[in-house]
């Protein structure tokens, strides 16, 4: 690893780290002169830096990472104390109400059971992402000659990287206004010599899926080491388990029909334990056949969503067949301010 960069003014904390993983830093690279003449849009092209690339930059070219304060990130975040207060009040009232009903042996509706399961999962998600800035519209730009060089290096294919490394070892420092990728990459590598043993994480320009481009996260861990793959499966088991377990509260509730009760119980088991076959298929696909793994994962995901959908649908349907005791109010519950 490269020696630490010069002292920075602002510490790089968890908020910065979340900001980087959510695509908070991007290269703004000037378009080639020919393209910019015909282009009616901006003269630069934006390349969002993924977590793996950011880690590579942090380890090798820390000087190009913008020295920004935590406040400059959080000021652009849409999270407000009001929304947090709203969440706490509403969920507090919901939990208090459910607990009071259980203590007083008053039945809960399946919709309340289902909402409790959702609430539990989403509140946990909320606290895990506590330091993640919320809904920032635009990334922080990294530009300049040095950024162009590092960007060119990150875009190198293995062959281009080998050529750049060779050039960096032989070529004397020259002008860097060239747009040639290998030359730029060679300039980036030049001051890393000797000692540059491995190329950057790799090139994948085409990995741009619009559906995920505005997602609340990623379906897998980007920075976990490959040989720690099995540890990555732990959240895949725990998350469905945490969602499914509260549904057992509806085990002996009143259902419109015995068939629906059976389906509820089966769906509860499916939702709770879906992580186990999911993990099994991930390992199977990873070790033997990727296509079998993907098909299996697709099927398991569909089953999980069907089970989850049934639990929600049934909880809405049961609203018309409630136990009379469900309508009874907990005496003090109306004195808690809430939305209803």
């Amino acid at each position: 690893m490269r020696p630490p960069s010069e002292n920075r003014q602002f510490p790089f904390g968890l908020v910065h780290a979340f900001y980087a993983t959510m695509g908070g830093f991007a290269f703004d690279i000037p378009k080639r002169s020919g393209a910019s003449k015909t282009s009616t849009t901006s003269s630069t092209r934006r390349y969002v830096i993924a977590s793996q690339s950011f880690l590579y930059i942090m380890q090798n070219f820390p000087d190009i990472i913008p020295d920004i304060s935590e406040e400059s990130i959080t000021d652009r975040s849409e999270s407000s104390p009001l929304s947090k207060a709203l969440l706490i009040v509403q969920v507090g009232w919901f939990c208090a109400n459910c607990l009071a009903r259980l203590i007083l042996h008053l039945p809960l509706s399946l919709l309340e059971v289902s909402t409790a399961a959702h609430g539990f999962c989403t509140i946990l998600t909320y606290f895990i992402l506590w330091s993640k800035p919320q809904n920032i519209a635009e990334a922080t730009s990294i530009n300049g000659p040095r950024a162009r060089q590092v960007h060119a290096l990150l875009k190198c294919t293995e062959e281009e990287y080998a050529a750049a490394l060779k050039m960096a070892a032989t070529v004397v420092a020259g002008p860097t206004d060239s747009n040639d990728q290998i030359v730029l990459a060679a300039h980036a590598l030049r001051d890393r010599l000797p000692g540059q043993e491995a190329p950057p994480p790799g090139r994948d320009d085409s990995f741009h899926i619009p559906f995920w481009s505005s997602s609340p996260g990623s379906p897998y861990c980007h920075l976990c080491p490959p040989n720690a793959f099995h540890y990555q499966t732990i959240p895949l088991v725990i998350a469905p388990l945490l969602y499914g377990l509260p549904h057992f509260l509806g085990w002996s509730e009143l259902f419109p029909s015995s068939l629906e009760r059976l389906f509820w119980r089966v769906s509860t088991f499916m939702a709770t334990g879906s992580g186990v076959p999911f993990v099994f298929l991930v390992i199977l696909g990873n070790q033997y056949n990727h296509s079998i793994g993907r098909i299996g994962l697709g099927l398991t995901s569909i089953l999980y969503i069907v089970a989850s959908g049934f639990l929600i649908g049934e909880s809405l349907r049961q609203l018309f067949y409630l136990d009379p005791g469900t309508y009874q109010l907990v005496p003090w519950s109306d004195y808690w301010p809430h939305f209803s």
């Binding site: 946990l124 895990i128 790799g202 481009s213 379906p219």
Partner: protein
């Protein structure tokens, strides 16, 4: 014509009264109570990544609705994704304490320190590491500034 002064009726004094709230709730009350809690919870849990390009208000609204539906149908997926992102952020924070030094650099939290130790022990990402899985390559994605 009636003489108002002939009206001998004394005005009613209001009785002291304390009326209890009704001790029953309705189906619509249960429904709105649960749905409002559900919406507030799922919406709060959605922390979007920065889009590749700036979205219009309509697009943001559409994405919000889409992910609300995903969050309602698959809250476990949101939780898993949050755990993975937290691990990624902790690993980055751990490496930052080595690469990006600041006079006021705070000591990373216990989770970050544990994850960093774990990653280093597992021979994780470092300059000398070889190429990794193809699908974990850099997402240097193109989009207009």
């Amino acid at each position: 014509m009636e003489n108002p002064t002939n009206n001998t009726t004394t005005p009613h004094m209001p009785e002291f009264l304390w009326v209890e709230e009704p001790s029953f709730r309705g189906s619509s009350g249960i429904l709105t109570f649960c749905v409002s809690t559900l919406i507030i919870c799922v919406w709060s849990a959605l922390h979007f990544d920065i889009p590749q390009r700036r979205h219009t208000n309509t697009e943001r609204f559409a994405f919000g609705i889409l992910w609300m539906i995903v969050g309602v149908l698959c809250p476990g997926g949101l939780l898993t994704s949050a755990i993975f992102q937290r691990i990624d952020a902790s690993i980055l924070e751990g490496y930052a304490s080595l690469s990006l030094q600041s006079e006021t650099q705070a000591k990373p939290g216990w989770l970050t320190r544990t994850l960093k130790r774990f990653v280093l022990k597992a021979g994780g990402k470092s300059v000398s590491s070889p190429h990794h899985l193809c699908n974990s390559l850099s997402r240097v994605s193109a989009g207009r500034a």
